[in-house]
């Protein structure tokens, strides 16, 4: 399916899931007083927006390819906050409709349907509260992740029980059918994410072929599919989650693929920043690892591009390497302008290979040093208007060039500011920020 059609299909599906049940209730339900109806409508919206928030980050490859992981996560966060607001508005409507319902908030004397609602609301408020205070709580990524998944599951299960035990809306056959569809969607997505992709899918199994040091702090992990017929294809610039155990509970981290999409092996270039990456880069050849991917829309293959300005900071060069290596393998004649930002000369990666690629591609590499040594003769300082306009101006059609930015958030934000000053069409700016926490 082409990517425009894929986006339209996802937008339609998500839109129908969010707005369908509440509108169906308005169309089919027996007549009832306004506050009662508002209570039901806000409750249904809260439920459908919650389900949307749960589906979005479930590693659906076609969704992540259609919108890019950044957009998906941004909409996920919006849905989470919206659902919380809607739940509280729902509670307010219920009380305005019948103030005596306040007795239902007494957890110990309330009937099960109200207990489920209170439990779901408490879990949701706690979830959003922890997200808001995540910086102050200083949780590790793993504990934050499991708390997030656990609370989100509690919110959904108790929310569904509230609807079932209330048995109010489900008396209308159309609503009961819509509710079953919603339950089926959640069960299917959760099974796909946690059981099939997390545990069973043979296409996620790889073995370490080689660990290749690139510098003192960075290595390339070269992987080969474990099964002979494993289906694995990606477009350059995509990323995948890598874990060292078969279980979906094993610790995992996202890494951008750095190899060519035509290469026999799949490579991830990683910095040995923590325990996980240190262990990963010290695995012996033949050790199995599990790869959930490819994900993301940070790629020149998703839409038509006539030229590329690639801005990379640190290990943010990995998606750019994948794009350049693939371009070289394809005999791509389009212009590539790579701007590499590094703190020190030792942090410049793949210089030899980039030199080789300059001979086969229309590639110009501009290296910018943050903290240059005395013998550095190239650019240094920040990415500025002058430098980027110079790079852009070196292409034949600067107005039809696409920008790809990957690196530390501060670098991306300052580069974005400059690119906006260059009057680049926002549709031509692509960024990749792994900001999942």
């Amino acid at each position: 399916m082409n990517d425009g059609l894929l986006r339209t299909a996802w937008l339609t599906g998500l839109g129908a899931m969010v707005a369908g049940p509440p509108l169906l209730w308005l169309a089919t339900a027996p007549r009832e007083p306004m506050w009662s109806r508002l209570a039901v409508v806000s409750g249904f919206f809260a439920l459908t927006v919650l389900i949307c928030a749960a589906v979005l980050p479930s590693r659906l490859r076609s969704l992540n390819r259609a919108f890019g992981i950044e957009s998906v996560m941004e909409v996920h966060r919006f849905c989470g906050v919206s659902a919380t607001v809607l739940v509280l508005v729902h509670l307010a409507c219920v009380l305005i409709n019948d103030p005596r319902s306040v007795a239902l908030l007494n957890f110990f004397s309330a009937p099960p349907r109200a207990q489920a609602a209170v439990a779901s609301t408490a879990a949701l408020v706690l979830l959003v509260g922890v997200v808001a205070l995540k910086a102050r709580l200083q949780l590790t990524y793993e504990s934050w992740r499991w708390m997030h998944v656990g609370l989100a599951s509690a919110v959904l299960v108790f929310g569904a029980l509230h609807v079932v035990w209330l048995n109010h809306a489900l008396l209308v056959p159309a609503m009961s059918a819509a509710f079953l569809v919603l339950v089926a969607v959640v069960v299917a997505v959760a099974s796909y994410r946690w059981v099939w992709r997390g545990l069973l899918d043979p296409a996620t199994e790889f073995v370490i072929h080689e660990i290749r040091p690139e510098s003192s702090t960075i290595s390339t992990v070269v992987l080969a599919p474990r099964g002979k017929e494993a289906a694995w294809s990606f477009v350059p610039g995509q990323f995948a989650w890598v874990r060292m155990g078969r279980s979906p509970a094993a610790e995992e981290h996202p890494f951008t693929i750095s190899s060519s999409s035509r290469d026999e092996y799949t490579m991830f270039t990683v910095r040995h920043a923590g325990d996980f990456t240190r262990t990963l880069t010290s695995l012996a050849p033949g050790t199995p690892v599990w790869v959930d991917g490819p994900h993301g829309a940070f790629s020149g293959d998703i839409k038509e591009c006539s030229g590329f300005v690639l801005v990379a900071g640190g290990v943010g060069i990995t998606p750019m390497m994948s794009m350049l290596r693939t371009a070289a393998d394809r005999g791509d004649r389009r212009p590539y302008r790579l701007v590499v930002v590094a703190s020190r000369q030792e942090d410049l990666l793949f210089r030899e290979e980039l030199g080789f690629l300059r001979g086969t591609l229309d590639l110009v590499v501009t290296e910018v040093m943050r903290r240059p040594s005395d013998d550095w003769e190239g650019h240094f300082g920040d990415l500025g208007f002058g430098l980027l306009s110079l790079v852009l101006g070196s292409t034949e059609n600067p107005e039809s060039v696409d920008f790809f930015l990957c690196g530390p958030p501060a670098m991306i934000h300052s580069a974005l500011e400059v690119i906006e000053d260059l009057d680049v069409d926002p549709a031509r700016i692509h960024t990749e920020l792994f900001d999942f926490v």
Binding site: P33, F45, F78, P99, T220, G386, S389, S394
Partner: protein, 304 residues
């Protein structure tokens, strides 16, 4: 397009919610519940809020007392209570049909489920067994009939609507008869019934008094403030994020770019393949076929 999708989706979700709320208000408005001070004209005379409230209350009474009577006709231990349960079930079905017919003719919206308190009673009764079941069933249903009777009487004596007057008369007959059935079991504890209203307090519809509304009002306010707080916190976070990008990082040194490549001289830049566009010579240009290329740059096996 990709960078605009989050905004597009956010706006779509907010628009769908606003549309649904607008539709809800419109549906209620067109039924005359809001916007006309609660009074509408009908061919049987003006219809006021107390008339509508009565139909809603009787409907809710039917919705819980009918099924509860049905249950008592099978589960009660005493034959007398079983018989009373059967009477209540039959007569509430009859009264409910009349209630729905009148509400339909007068354009009044009726609820589809009993209220929270009534559902609580249903749970309490269902959970009891043996003689406890009989006692709780009779007490709760008798108490509920005691709440509806004054509402019927108020509308009977003061409504401006002839159809409501007839309905209230019929309703009072049903309720009086039911109170008689329930009291005939001998199980009613009169001292446990709510005390008669204080003659100095005027309660027109039997709606909750000011005292009872304090807690619900507080909870409603808390909900709305918390909802606004969450929404505002999220918005502030977003705007902070975008503000931070506006801060230009301090520059260590003046940009050297204009020196080797002053902007006016852009046209003089050699063709894109020219190695001199990269201003420093440290990155070597390796031509294809040269055997000195780095080992992983020269990929021997490439899938076709």
């Amino acid at each position: 397009m990709l960078r605009r999708i989050p905004r597009f989706l956010r706006v779509s979700i907010v628009l769908a919610i606003v549309a649904a709320v607008a539709l809800t208000v419109y549906q209620s408005w067109s039924s005359g519940v809001v916007g006309t001070g609660g009074w509408t004209q009908t061919q049987w005379g003006p219809l006021g809020p107390a008339d509508r409230d009565l139909l809603v209350k009787v409907r809710q009474a039917n919705l819980w007392e009918g099924p509860t009577g049905q249950q008592a006709s099978q589960q009660a231990s005493s034959p007398v209570v079983r018989e009373v349960g059967a009477h209540l079930a039959t007569e509430h079905t009859d009264l409910d049909a009349q209630t729905r017919k009148v509400a339909d003719q007068l354009g009044v919206l009726l609820p589809a489920a009993p209220n929270a308190q009534q559902q609580g009673w249903m749970t309490e009764i269902s959970a009891a067994t043996g003689s406890d079941y009989d006692r709780i069933f009779v007490q709760r249903v008798r108490q509920a009939h005691g709440i509806v009777l004054p509402l019927l009487a108020q509308v009977r004596v003061s409504t401006r609507n002839s159809m409501m007057r007839d309905f209230a008369t019929t309703g009072m007959q049903f309720v009086n008869r039911h109170i008689g059935y329930l009291e005939s079991t001998g199980l009613v504890d009169y001292n446990a019934l709510p005390a008669p209203p204080d003659p100095t307090v005027f309660t027109f519809t039997g709606a909750p008094g000011g005292q009872d509304l304090v807690m619900p009002t507080l909870v409603i306010l808390c909900c709305l403030i918390a909802a606004a707080g969450f929404a505002a916190a999220f918005r502030r976070k977003r705007s902070q994020k975008s503000r931070s990008t506006m801060v230009d990082p301090p520059r260590r040194a003046p940009l050297p770019v204009p020196v080797p490549f002053p902007l006016p001289e852009l046209v003089a830049i050699p063709g894109p393949r020219g190695p001199s566009i990269d201003p420093h010579p440290s990155l070597p240009l390796v031509l294809p076929g040269e055997a000195t290329g780095p080992r992983h740059a020269v990929r021997p096996r490439v899938r076709n």
